[in-house]
């Protein structure tokens, strides 16, 4: 098996621009028993970075990602995207933010069943400002041969790659992935990670990936550990491993 060339680590800050910064981020879910999902998170994410978020179930990973992506708002603290304040944004502004800057990938692919692979991507390219062509986006995830298939005719891995193609087709500034390989076997999971990795490398898209699988952390520039709503650890990989070298 040929050993792949390791990618050089990103130079240390401050050479890359800070895209997203969070300070003192807290989130409390109100209810009969209020749940504090985040307890004061401070975080800077830079352009082009590949970040992996690790943590036990319930530690607040999804909550953090959703706040960063403008799906939810924090209870207190500040999130800024470049010079936009997301903390106090209303629904209209958040929609705008998601539309122009964010790509999402979820554990369950959430494709639209009545649209073909290409059309699922078109859903995004229609409203984006400088989109890739749907065919190019699908080629980027290695799916240029399944353009006219409906989700029900695709395997789970293929569906997830369509979801990635859909997320990157707008050429987002950040790509947020919540357990993108959670529902896939290792072989298919690696295909998906390769697609993410290629996008990050070629398009210089800030990519954040949540996973339970510590092995995956090896492909990141930076790894964050969450526990009980706090960032409790952070390390940088000296080299990023290629996804195809992973095993689990």
């Amino acid at each position: 098996m040929p050993v792949s060339e390791p990618y050089p680590p990103l130079p240390e800050a401050p050479s890359a621009e800070v895209l997203l910064s969070a300070r003192g981020l807290s989130k409390i879910y109100d209810g009969d028993v209020p749940v504090q999902a985040l307890r004061g998170v401070d975080l800077d994410l830079r352009a082009g970075e590949f970040v992996v978020l690790l943590g036990a179930s319930g530690s607040g990973k999804s909550t953090l990602l959703n706040i960063l992506g403008g799906l939810e708002t924090a209870s207190s603290g500040v999130v800024r995207y470049r010079d936009h304040d997301l903390t106090h944004a209303d629904d209209r502004a958040l929609t705008r933010y998601r539309r122009d800057h964010v790509g999402f990938v979820f554990q369950f692919y959430n494709l639209i069943a009545s649209l073909t692979a290409r059309e699922n991507v078109e859903v995004v390219t229609e409203i984006a400002e400088r989109p890739l062509s749907p065919d190019d986006a699908l080629r980027a995830v290695g799916l240029d041969h399944r353009l006219d298939h409906f989700p029900a005719q695709l395997s789970g891995g293929e569906q997830q790659r369509v979801a990635i193609a859909r997320a990157i087709a707008k050429q987002p500034d950040l790509l947020l992935c919540d357990e993108p390989t959670g529902a896939l076997d290792s072989k298919t999971g690696i295909l998906v990670l390769e697609a993410l990795e290629r996008v990050n490398r070629d398009l210089k898209t800030l990519t954040v990936v949540i996973t339970h699988n510590a092995v995956i952390a090896d492909i990141a520039d930076r790894v964050l550990h969450l526990s009980d709503g706090r960032i409790v650890g952070e390390h940088r990989n000296p080299t990023r491993r290629a996804p195809r070298d992973l095993q689990w």
Binding site: R99, F106, A113, V123, E126, A152
Partner: protein, 784 residues
């Protein structure tokens, strides 16, 4: 409470919007069912009671004059039980403070011992002397007459002042309308009763009679009795006997009851059909969502029938609530309706009955509809093996539809493609949704029929056909010279005389009682119309027939009909039919007057006249007419139009409002439910769109696209169904009394479309709340 009961309550609460919409559709169905059945029952029950109490006759005959000795002979006819003779005449009434002449029919009182058509006295007492009369209640109300009031009465040209002794009702005049009118006019047409002796004297009938009532034995051969009676009375100028089915009031009443029979099936049928469909859609959706829960329950040992019961209960509760509410509203509206009926059908009492069995069958019929709707969905779920149920359902299969050529596809946005493919994946559901909305539009179109057709009816009848300002009839045949007399009256600028004669027309084995009217060749004040509303000239020879009469006789232009003249010597003639005419009110045969005079072997005689009058001179003319003997009937065109429109305006408004409520219920029910179901089926996709950066509005368009598309298809279909229903109704209601023209104004179609669109808009607004509350994160968190 068992767990399943808890679940039932929570499900109902969660589905409350949809449950309410369906319950309202069910309620509308049951309401119409209850109104129709209870009104029909009340009308016919009261009819039966009143007929029995007042000993309403079975057969009727009018003649010129016959000796009372004939009574014995009539009593001997096979099948005759009781014979009652009486005096009858036409009268003109002059009321202080009311300029216009008022026409009335005057009858002698029924025999106090065992007589027929007995009066129901509302107030006062029966008249005794020649200066006393009883008046019918509607007329008394119209003029606020009370016992003790007086007015001038002209009988056979002799005027006398009479006192009202009593206010009465009669089974003979439950529906009181002057023959030839389209609507009751209680102010200008009444019925009077006088003691027999004085009326005989006034009518020149001492020891004689000119009107017969018969009660028949049960099981009597009615046509045979009528025949025998006709043979017996022919020498005395009888215009032919009739049985109850030809009696004017009875006919209107029977027609009305028959109409309710039709209503009692059609409207509830539509509503309950729609309700069944809605329940089906909602249950299907619910069971799809709860597929795995059903499987788990089964795995735990619940039986299929327990589970089926649980879901059927859900449908049952919705339907029960709706139908109980419907019975309540139906009973309330039905009672209100019966009060409206009191105005038109003059019963001394109207027993409004909401029988238990009507209420119960309303509930049962809707329960049946619910069962039909829900059963299919429930059975499928109950039969599903648990292991299979816990696996996710196979993903829906979509296809690129045949409509989507590459050109069209490029043109359709992804949202539009979602809409098209979702619709085509469930064509039956989509078609039923279209049908439901279409019926709602159709009901609105039907609601407009009355207004539109009555506008045309008025126009055709009173501006195209009947153009005389005043129509007079005489108490007997007069010489044509009478025209000069009339022409000399104040304000009269045109006189056209006319001759009318009662006849029986025959062709083959068919025969119809009717009348032939003779017109002047250059008649302008009364015109016959063809099917396009153009005037038909009076032919020199031969007979024109109203289309409905020609149809009943099975004849067309070119055929010959046998004419039996029902007055005088009952001559029989054969006359060629030269054409058919299409007036909307009344029916009969029409000829050139001279030709008719020749046919009847009579001189230049007439029985009535049409007048063109200077309006400013009307009061003077009325005064003159009231003083002129022999004028017994008078119709004032302007007044007829006015009283007609005034009375109808209110009714049309009520009718249209009821139709609006009913139609909106269906529209809201179907549209709102479709949206809710679409929303729950597509929540995940809609959330995806929102995550991808689609705005609420853009997401809403995808959600609403389906229902809006269906609505747009449904509207023209609804127009067509509405037109069809109207043409069925028009055909069903056509009689020789009047024909409702099938006209629907463009505004009616526009209005139907507008209501449907507004309903869709309102339902959409309700949905925007759901889109707003759509929780993006949780919608996407669960597996597909």
């Amino acid at each position: 409470m068992s767990v399943l009961t808890h679940k039932l309550v929570r499900d109902l609460w969660r589905l409350r919007g949809q449950a309410l919409a369906i319950a309202l559709v069910v309620a509308s169905g049951v309401t119409t069912f209850v109104i129709a059945h209870s009104t029909m029952r009340s009308l016919s029950l009261t009819q039966r009671e009143f007929y029995r109490d007042s000993r309403f006759a079975d057969a009727f005959a009018s003649l010129t004059r016959a000796p009372r000795a004939l009574e014995m002979q009539m009593a001997q006819i096979d099948g005759v039980d009781i014979v009652e003779t009486r005096a009858s005449g036409s009268a003109l009434i002059d009321l202080a403070g009311f300029d216009e002449p008022v026409a009335a029919q005057i009858l002698s009182l029924p025999n106090p011992h065992g007589g027929l058509n007995r009066l129901y006295l509302r107030a006062g007492r029966l008249p005794e002397s020649d200066r006393e009369v009883a008046v019918n209640e509607a007329f008394a109300e119209a003029h606020q007459l009370r016992p003790g009031d007086r007015f001038d009465l002209t009988l056979r040209g002799v005027q006398r002042r009479v006192t009202v002794t009593g206010i009465a009702l009669s089974a003979e005049f439950v529906y009181l309308i002057r023959p030839g009118d389209i609507f009751p006019d209680y102010k200008r047409y009444g019925v009077l009763w006088m003691a027999r002796k004085p009326l005989e004297a006034a009518e020149g009938l001492d020891g004689a009679f000119n009107d017969v009532l018969l009660r028949l034995q049960p099981g009597a051969d009615v046509p045979a009795v009528i025949n025998a009676l006709d043979r017996l009375l022919a020498p005395y100028g009888s215009a032919g006997a009739i049985d109850r089915s030809d009696q004017l009031s009875h006919r209107y009443l029977s027609d009305e009851i028959h109409q309710w029979e039709v209503q009692a099936t059609v409207l509830p049928g539509i509503f309950l059909g729609v309700a069944a469909f809605l329940l089906n859609v909602v249950m299907m959706r619910l069971l799809k969502q709860e597929r795995s829960q059903v499987a788990v329950l089964k795995a735990f040992g619940y039986s299929a029938s327990e589970i089926a019961m649980h879901y059927l209960m859900l449908a049952g509760v919705i339907v029960l609530l709706g139908s109980v509410f419907g019975v309540g509203v139906g009973g309330w509206l039905g009672a209100g309706m019966s009060r409206v009926y009191q105005e038109f059908f003059r019963y001394p009492y109207l027993h409004y009955v909401l029988d238990l069995d009507v209420a119960v069958s309303g509930v049962l019929v809707s329960a049946l509809a619910a069962l039909l709707g829900a059963a299919l969905a429930v059975l499928r779920a109950a039969r599903l093996p648990p292991a299979q149920g816990m696996r996710p359902e196979a993903p829906p299969r979509y296809r690129i539809t045949v409509f989507e050529t590459s050109r069209i596809r490029r043109w359709l946005s992804p949202g539009a493609r979602m809409v098209v493919r979702n619709l085509l994946r469930q064509p039956i559901k989509a078609s039923l949704t279209v049908l439901g909305i279409a019926f709602s539009a159709a009901i609105l179109v039907v609601g407009g029929l009355m207004k539109d057709s009555i506008d045309v009816l008025l126009d055709v009848q009173f501006r195209q056909a009947m153009r005389a300002d005043l129509t007079l009839s005489f108490d007997d045949v007069k010489h044509e010279r009478v025209r000069h007399l009339l022409a000399a009256m104040p304000g009269v600028h045109r006189v056209e005389v006319t001759r009318a004669v009662p006849v029986r027309l025959r062709s083959g084995h068919r025969s119809e009682r009717s009348a032939i009217q003779g017109f002047e060749p250059d008649a302008r004040l009364y015109r016959l119309l063809d099917s396009d509303g153009n005037p038909v000239p009076i032919p020199r020879d031969g007979l024109l027939l109203t289309a409905i009469l020609a149809q009943k006789l099975g004849v067309a232009a070119g055929d010959t009909v046998e004419v039996e003249v029902l007055t005088g010597e009952r001559q029989i003639r054969y006359v060629p039919v030269v054409g058919v005419t299409h007036e909307l009110i009344g029916s009969g045969g029409y000829m050139d007057r001279s030709a008719l005079n020749r046919l009847l072997n009579e001189g230049d005689v007439v029985t009535g006249a049409f007048l063109g009058v200077e309006h400013s001179q009307l009061p003077a003319l009325f005064t003159q007419i009231k003083r002129t003997p022999h004028i017994v009937g008078l119709m004032n065109r302007e007044v007829a139009i006015r009283s007609f429109t005034e009375t109808m305006a209110g009714n049309i408004l009520i009718f249209a409002a009821v139709m609006l409520v009913l139609a909106s219920t269906i529209a809201v029910g179907v549209v709102y439910n479709s949206m809710r179901v679409t929303f729950s089926e597509r929540a995940r996709e809609l959330a995806s769109l929102r995550v991808l950066g689609y705005t609420r509005t853009e997401t809403g368009v995808v959600l609403l696209g389906e229902i809006v598309t269906l609505t747009l298809i449904a509207i023209p279909l609804g127009w067509a169904i509405g037109w069809l229903l109207c043409s069925l109704m028009v055909a069903e209601l056509a009689s020789d009394l009047y024909r409702i023209p099938l006209v629907l104004a463009p505004q009616t179609y526009a209005y139907a479309a507008l209501v449907i669109l507004v309903t869709t808009l309102l339902s959409s607004l309700l949905m925007t709340r759901s889109i707003k509350r759509l929780d993006l994160v949780s919608a996407l968190k669960v597996p597909q």
